[in-house]
């Protein structure tokens, strides 16, 4: 028999359950405009109703479940981390692009062209002191351009190092905030909707810097992992990351740029797991892009390679010639000097030997046959190489420089396009998050089926448009 006491107990349980529903609704209204807040819903669980067995039925409140879907949230972070990466790439490549002028109006291309022109003018008047002095002056200008380019790149290295440190600090600060929220939750505030909103808002900020995975634990605290494997936060314990700069073992160029590394709280190198987000972009710029120009432990860098090969070739031609054909003949002297002990420091130290005077520049190619202006003619051929000694990797010096500059230009164009796409992708992910909150399972399954049908049609159309656009570009590109 169902006793009066059990009926009263059922009523009390139902009243408590509905009171919690009201609390949840009140929370939803109060936090409607709180950043990061997702509508919560109260699950009501049916109690077994079997009067014979004394089970009175009714309802009770289940654990409050946030309608925020972890899956949709992770999707927002996944897109945000790519936006952070694209944004950082745009900033860094914009800074780099300003150092590489390909218009020929300034910098290395301008001074290189001027020097090559001065070789040509000297070839026409091999004994003209003014023409020789012009060669020395233009060579000095070119050396200055190389040093300025190297110095500019070193400035970008310095800025990037600072940004790396600031980004690491920012990650640690945000994880520190999350640690504080976890501590509050573990003290008993786990059903505070405002607190949950702050947690999600902070996670979203964090996701622009690094690729994060966050899981809500049974105790209500949030566990945060970096790159899916390195713990940043577990319960009330924060694991701070740090940055450092270190040469690898057995470097080929011991004085080259040391590599930037990210270390976990235990001191282990976790650089390889930081590939996306602002921090991933900064690491790529610092460890891949900048060394490709300035060198590191394993490579001299293209700027140094170009400076060294150009200086060596000019010096080799000048010293192979004669200033006059007396007995014995007087050989020419080298024009350029640089730090020969460190191949990663050539561009930075390239200069014209201040002791060289115009009359020491050799014009005579001893042959046979002897050619009075053979050396300036050979030097002027550097603009239009006829043999491999005048080239770097099959390209003329001007082309090699153009390739260096175009790598930056292409990377900047790609980053800018990626940034535009990701801005839309983040907005889309935020919309998808809204859509997937609080929808029942059956309706959600139908949305997926309908979406797949619509997807097929749109996918075919985009494929056709893509082909048509490519054809359009091809037709318009034919002069």
């Amino acid at each position: 028999m169902v006793s009066l006491l059990s009926i009263l107990s059922t009523s009390a349980s139902a009243l408590r359950a509905y009171e919690q529903v009201l609390n949840v609704t009140q929370n939803n209204v109060a936090n409607a405009s709180t950043p990061g807040y997702a509508k919560q819903s109260q699950q009501l669980c049916a109690l077994p109703g079997d009067p014979e067995m004394g089970a009175t039925g009714g309802v009770k409140a289940g654990v409050i479940q946030s309608a925020r879907d972890q899956y949709a949230e992770q999707n927002v972070w996944r897109q945000t981390v790519l936006l952070g990466q694209a944004g950082q790439n745009v900033n860094s490549f914009t800074a780099l692009e300003s150092l590489f002028d390909i218009s020929g109006a300034s910098g290395i291309p301008n001074t290189l062209n001027s020097l090559l022109a001065s070789f040509s003018a000297w070839g026409q008047s091999p004994n003209d002191t003014a023409a020789r002095q012009t060669v020395i002056d233009r060579a000095t200008d070119l050396a200055t351009s190389f040093r300025q380019a190297a110095s500019g790149l070193e400035g970008v290295v310095k800025d990037t190092n600072q940004q790396l440190q600031q980004t690491v600090d920012q990650v640690n600060n945000l994880v520190g905030q999350l640690q504080g929220y976890n501590a509050q939750i573990l003290r008993g505030d786990r059903n505070d909707a405002g607190l949950e909103a702050q947690v999600y808002s902070t996670l979203e900020q964090l996701s622009q810097y690094v690729d994060i995975t966050a899981r809500q634990q049974d105790d209500g605290s949030t566990t945060v992992l970096l790159g899916g494997q390195t713990a940043l936060l577990v319960g009330a314990q924060q694991y701070s990351i740090s940055s450092t700069f270190q040469q690898p073992d057995n470097p080929v160029y011991p004085d080259g740029l040391p590599e930037a590394q990210i270390l976990g709280a235990d001191g282990s190198d976790i650089t390889a797991s930081v590939t996306t987000g602002q921090l991933g972009a900064l690491l790529n710029i610092r460890n891949q892009v900048l060394p490709s120009y300035l060198g590191d432990a394993n490579q001299p860098g293209d700027l140094n390679t170009m400076a060294k090969q150009f200086a060596d070739r000019v010096n080799q031609l000048l010293t192979s010639g004669n200033v006059d054909n007396g007995d014995p003949p007087l050989a020419g002297v080298p024009l350029f000097t640089y730090d020969t002990t460190d191949d990663t420091n050539v561009a930075n130290t390239l200069s014209v030997d201040p002791t060289v005077t115009p009359d020491q520049l050799a014009a005579i190619d001893p042959g046979p046959p002897e050619v009075a202006n053979g050396i300036p003619l050979a030097l002027s051929q550097l603009s239009n190489p006829q043999n491999t000694a005048d080239e770097i990797n099959g390209a003329s010096f001007t082309e090699f420089y153009g390739n260096m500059a175009s790598r930056i230009g292409t990377a900047l164009t790609n980053a800018t396009s990626q940034q535009t796409v990701q801005q839309s992708a983040v907005a889309q992910a935020q919309n998808l998050r809204k859509q997937s909150s609080g929808v029942d399972l059956d309706a959600e399954a139908m949305v997926v089926v309908e979406f797949e049908r619509a997807y097929q049609a749109n996918s075919r159309l985009i494929s056709v448009l893509d082909q048509l656009t490519q054809d359009t570009i091809n037709i318009l590109s034919t002069a």
Partner: protein, 120 residues
């Protein structure tokens, strides 16, 4: 057709693709249905333009606009694929949450009772 006309028509097509992108940002099945019509129109206009394109050949403004259009198409493609991947993975998750796993260890299909689906 003058190069300026080619540019103008490419701008019009891009504007439609941009409009489709805006719809894809709110990637619901209903938004995708509207998107289909817009992309169809954009495709038709671009196909109609093809025979006149040689008249704009070599024009740098037209080339630039064509590259912008390609960027817009790439953005639309990326948004569509992102949304598709979101829904497909979500369905797998729903399946594993609601119906467990198949014998092969894949998420079981999410139960969807009392509905029929007609294709034709």
């Amino acid at each position: 057709m003058a190069a300026a006309d080619v540019v103008q028509r490419l701008v019009a097509v891009r504007s439609e693709v941009d409009q489709a992108c805006e719809l894809l940002i709110s990637a619901s099945p209903k938004a995708l249905d509207s998107c289909t019509h817009i992309l169809e129109t954009a495709g038709s206009r671009l196909a109609e333009l093809q025979p006149q394109l040689p008249e704009g050949a070599g024009n740098s403004t037209a080339q630039q606009e064509a590259r912008r259009l390609r960027g817009a198409v790439a953005r639309a493609n990326s948004l569509l694929e992102n949304a598709f991947s979101f829904y497909v993975n979500w369905r797998r998750l729903l399946g594993s949450l609601s119906a467990g796993y198949t014998e092969r260890g894949d998420p079981a299909p999410a139960p969807c009772q009392g509905r029929i689906c007609l294709e034709g």
